[in-house]
Amino acid sequence: MRKKIVAILMAAAMIISMLAGCANTETPKGTDAQTGAPTAGEAVKETDKPEETEKKPDPETVIWWVPGTEAEDHDLVMEELNKILVEKINVKLDLVRIDTGFADRVKLASTSGEEFDLVWTSNYSNKFDENLAREGFMAIEDIVAEYGQDLVATLPEGLLDVATVDGHLYAIPNLQILARQLGVYVMKDYAEKYNLELTHIDDISELYPFLDQIVANEPNVYALTSSGVSPTNEAVYESLANGAVFVRKDDTGLTAISNAEATAANLRARNEWYQRGYIQEDIVTATDISAGMKAGKYVCQVAVYKPGGAEERSINHGIEYICIPIGEPYIQAASGQETMTAVNVNSKHPEAAIKLLNLLFTDKEVFNMLLYGIEGVHYNKIDETHAQKVENTKYNYSGQAWRLGNQFLAYYSPTQVDGTWEATAEMNRTAQVSPMRGFVFDATNVQAELAQISAVTKEYSDALAYVAEDIEAYIAERAAKLETAGLSKVVAEVQAQLDAWKAAK
């Protein structure tokens, strides 16, 4: 009898729990109080209107989630900024900076129905395709067409395609450097000491004479580091599907090539570098090289190139660098996905959100206030294009321009070289464009395979390739494991989608 009662009680507990979960179907009331707002139809048109004599509807507040640390004067600046925003477009901004676990927090927030309107997304963090897979973003092509016309005008041709899937637009790419090019940052002292004359290279092997000299004469430093980027790969290929599949940059036929095949040259190159002594001996166990970088232990660092990059890096590290670009700038299929702003599928103020973005992409004054704060308090304007932050300023998001809108509108800060925006825009314009520009891969059918592939590529990492005693055996072993993880299936899936996309054009 007692046992029965207990069993019933426990069953009841479980059932109640199920019902509780049941309630979580519709979009719930948020935890933040919202100032009520009328719908799009009544919203004020965003032009420079003179004082209204009729009563304006209450401004809608747009909540925007962005990774980063909140500045001390964050609320102060928001208040001032909102005065202007309300005046111009009758919208208030609540910029929320999440400093830890951004992707997790966003996931939890959207699952639990927490309120937010805009959210930063990219192809490497709070991933765009992941969010799409769970339908977390709102399709905004119509709203953008109506309220984001100025914004669209600032974007280069085809940029919106990288955020468009099946004809629906799901995010606004931020405007910044688009073309991707790698470069070698060389510590200036060593470059001068060994008369490094190169101003451009196509392959790391061109640096070998210089690197050999470093190895021979400078025992206390490491000649080369190339973590996270592969110049060998990028010289020939661009990647899709989290790096599982590659396509040759010049291949208009769009043939999908497996990671195992494409990246073999990269692994061999790394092995060679290690054999030649360019790479630090403990590369396998070294997890954080930033300390070494600050201490000036890495003579050559392969990283992403951008105009003004060497100067910026010099200031940031406290060591002088020059930069040798590798290859040519290239706009990848999904270039632009690195930083985008999306609208939460459950957002209640999508129109206001787009209006806000529209303003931030075009209005220099407003955008720079968002970045630099209040003039005189947080920064001083030197002229129309330069700003200098106040010593120990309590607000400075200028380094975040690439997350927030149109980088090219920002004032130059002292670490940036004059003319950088123009040079960047030029680079964007003249770069080679991928034959599959605008193609976005849909991973829903191969999620399990991608997860397994991810596990294998991490296990057979580049670091291990460096120290492999028999590199060919290593490559073969890796290829075999990738195959078992379902790589062929992914390649086939990509090829199928590519063919369909090509046909549809």
Binding site: S17, C22, R134, E135, E281, V284, V345, A451, S454
Partner: protein, 309 residues
């Protein structure tokens, strides 16, 4: 006669109600924070879509389980998880008990306090920091261990590329980290032991070893069994911090150190699907339950009064 029985029954009821009320706060807390969220288990079977919510999302059958169950590494990580954890549980328990017994032999309270305080220090060092310490020892070029080996004329070992040493290395690290802190509960139990029994045994001429075996150990058995059973109930969940950090996530060591939690972390890093992570959690839960029931049954055979249930 009848009234006496009735009074007894009422007293019985009253006692039970009082006991129930004592249990209530814990019951409520568990209901709110552990039972209520259990509906999340259903996510393992769903293809979650934000606009549809948890219940409206389409069913995914066993799709979310595929990446793990079909993985070529599933067997490897399962074997590692079970094997290593089992070893840690046994060794850890034995180590902590022995440690507590030896501590019991220390006569002066202030000595005990000193030794105990020092011995729990490792427990407070985060796994990231522990990984640095281990690295200082095992670094192939500058590490202390290799240097000592070379002084004795041997050849240094490339520790971070030989998976076969790592079960032992991890065992040592795990013991170092947990033995001091884990012995506290056993020592506390020994403190509650009737010392008269020990004295009586001594007078009867029992050697120290005999005294320990026949008095102290039986006293500790109930706690040891509970701890072991509970430990086995969690055997499928590895201490991610240790496995990930101490091995520095070096792929070459995966054959012996890759456990379920590190594998899942790696696999889902690129594709963080809510359904997939729920699925793995569920698998872990089910296997833990099976091992637990089995263990409890084994214990029942040996020493029935000490079972968990």
């Amino acid at each position: 006669m009848k009234t006496r029985l009735k009074r007894k029954k009422i007293k019985h009821l009253k006692d039970n109600l009082q006991l129930l009320s004592l249990a209530m706060p814990a019951v409520i807390l568990l209901a709110l924070f552990s039972y209520l969220p259990m509906f999340g288990i259903v996510l393992a079977f769903k293809n979650y879509k934000v606009p549809k919510g948890i219940w409206g999302s389409p069913w995914a059958g066993l799709e979310n389980f595929r990446f793990f169950l079909e993985s070529q590494d599933a067997w490897r990580v399962t074997r590692n998880t079970l094997g290593l954890n089992f070893m840690f549980i046994i060794a850890g328990t034995v180590g902590a008990v022995i440690f507590a017994l030896i501590m019991y032999e220390v006569k002066k309270a202030r000595h005990v306090k000193l030794y105990q305080t020092v011995s729990i220090l490792p427990h407070f060092i985060s796994w990231v920091a522990v990984s640095y310490i281990v690295y200082a020892l095992l670094d192939p070029t500058k590490g202390i261990i290799n240097r000592v080996i070379e002084i004795f004329g041997g050849e240094g070992v490339s520790w971070y590329s030989e998976p076969k040493y790592w079960p032992v290395i991890l065992l040592i690290v795990s013991l170092w980290h947990s033995v001091g802190y884990g012995s506290i509960i056993y020592y506390a139990s020994l403190m509650g032991m009737d010392s008269g029994l020990m004295e009586a045994a001594e007078i009867d001429g029992a050697t120290k070893l005999q005294r320990v075996w026949h008095v102290a150990i039986p006293h500790l058995v109930p706690i040891v069994i509970i701890k072991v059973i509970l430990g086995i109930g969690g055997i499928f969940n590895a201490d991610f911090g240790m496995f990930y950090n101490v091995t520095r996530d070096v792929g070459a060591l995966y054959p012996t150190t890759d456990v379920i939690d590190t594998y899942v972390y790696r696999a889902l890093m690129q594709q963080g699907n809510i359904g997939m992570s729920s699925a793995v959690g569920l698998i872990q839960s089910i296997v833990c339950t099976i091992t637990l029931v089995l263990t409890n049954a084994v214990v029942k055979k040996i020493s029935p009064e000490n079972t968990l249930f």
